[in-house]
């Protein structure tokens, strides 16, 4: 038990080689838990949207359709992999990989509970921005490399959308950085312990901007224009099939989980909760994560898709000015409180 405790919380007491092994083990645990969550996030989405639309959702495979994600996976795995004849093959192959790696790498800086981070780096928040901007390449390149009009339009839409909303998202988190005085995500969580409810109340404006931008960054309804199925078939991944299609599908859910985790860590107090749950230090983080993911589904079942000019106007004319206002307000209050 002592050995395990030391390995998780004080890896610096070991030799460098063992430290590397500990980091690898931590990364494997996180990836395993993440993939399990992605698998069942698809089931959760189909079930909750089903019930919101007064139907049952998947019911056939296993009790209440519980084995449906596994059946889906097996089906996708054995499906024929079709590559368009005039596609740019190398880029067509690496595009889904870029998407999925960018999402997974971002998870590595998220603290799951006090002291448990795969990579505890000082620029954690900036690292997440960097990885989420990399995510755009997967989508854009997939759209271009498929050499199909639908894919191409999806890719173009996505690149413009992601660049616009990245600015709003970065600015919305500046208020959090100012209040915490750090970019390290564990430090940000610790700074929130003094506030009941974390930075949610003092940074309510920032949180609003962050949430809207998070929906746009992950291409979720009401901003799912890059994959709008009624106009573009499936947008940037129209030409993908089989396992490569599954990779994009997984990347979308990983993106959603990353955005939720960033929101929880920066605004809702991370692993802290109203009371400590014994033996499960990560329980609050996961409870919040499930609520966030449910919120993504709830919005999808409620709101219709935005028009493209509305999307751009919302991003540039409302969210960015609001985020700037939030920064000025936070700075003023901080100065006043300092005396």
């Amino acid at each position: 038990m002592d050995l395990l405790y030391n390995a998780v919380f004080r890896p610096e007491t070991y030799s460098p080689l063992i430290q590397v092994l500990i980091i690898l083990a931590k990364a494997l645990v996180v990836v395993g838990v993440l993939m399990l969550h992605v698998t069942y996030a698809t089931y959760f989405e189909r079930k909750s949207i089903g019930h919101m639309q007064v139907r049952l959702g998947p019911m056939r495979v296993g009790p209440h359709g519980l084995l449906q994600p596994i059946a889906d996976f097996i089906k996708l795995f054995f499906k024929e992999d079709i590559i368009p004849a005039s596609a740019d093959k190398p880029i067509f192959f690496i595009a889904p990989a870029i998407s999925i790696f960018a999402g997974m790498t971002a998870i590595s800086v998220i603290p799951f509970f006090s002291g448990f981070v795969v990579a505890n780096i000082n620029i954690g928040l900036l690292f997440i921005f960097a990885m989420s901007s990399l995510n755009a390449y997967g989508v854009v390149l997939a759209g271009w490399a498929s050499n199909s009009k639908y894919s191409f339009l999806g890719g173009l839409r996505s690149s413009a959308q992601v660049i616009s909303y990245e600015i709003a998202m970065g600015l919305s988190l500046v208020g959090v950085m100012m209040m915490a005085g750090s970019l390290n995500l564990s430090e940000i969580v610790r700074a929130q312990q003094r506030f009941p409810g974390g930075f949610f109340w003092p940074q309510a404006l920032g949180f609003f901007v962050f949430m809207v931008a998070a929906f746009a960054e992950t291409n979720r309804t009401p901003f799912d224009l890059p994959e709008a199925e009624s106009e573009l078939v499936a947008g940037y991944f129209t030409e993908y099939s089989g396992m490569r299609f599954a990779l994009f599908y997984v990347a979308e859910y990983i993106g959603m989980i990353v955005m939720s985790l960033v929101g929880i860590t920066c605004f809702l107090g991370g692993w802290n909760g109203p009371f400590a749950i014994p033996y499960l230090p990560f329980a609050w983080l996961f409870i919040k994560l499930y609520l966030f993911i449910f919120f993504f589904y709830w919005v999808r079942a409620t709101l219709p898709r935005y028009r493209y000019d509305q999307l751009m106007a919302l991003g540039w004319k409302l969210l960015i000015p609001l985020a700037l206002l939030n920064i000025i307000g936070t700075g003023l209050v901080k100065m006043l409180l300092k005396g």
Binding site: I121, I123, F129, Y137, V140, L141, E166
Partner: protein, 168 residues
Amino acid sequence: MNPYLFGYLGAAILALSALSLTRKNPVHAVLYMIVMFFHLAVLYLGLGAEFLAAVQIIVYAGAILVLFLFVIMVLNIKEEMEGERFSGGWPFGIAIASGLFLLVVLITGNIVPGQQGPYTPGVIAAQTNTKLVGTLLYTQYIFPFEIASLILLVAVVGAIVLAKKKLR
């Protein structure tokens, strides 16, 4: 910084730049450039400038090159790939570049290392790189910082004027 790491990064940056210059397909050229920028970010990390490394990826790889791709994708790639990669004057360009390189090689022997300032790696590690950069930018270097922001503002106004079809 570990000399082996530096050697790898230097070689990789040179090779990737050369690849990016010689590709006929502009999208492939941009992709090699992205990988090059990542190596550059690792170089910054090795020098203890973690903030610079993150900004390098966010600004260059994340924003500017996506805009590059955006423009290149709308070009007719087939037409681009028909023509020659370099225009006629390239031997002349190479001559000038190698002359400059020779100059740099000759100079590097005579470089005298400057005096060590107050910001040693230890100080930077204690205060974190990001905090130090911020403090210095807003105190000691506030004037150049303001000039830079003014220049950017002019560029923003210029872009809006160009994009707007008719000005009232």
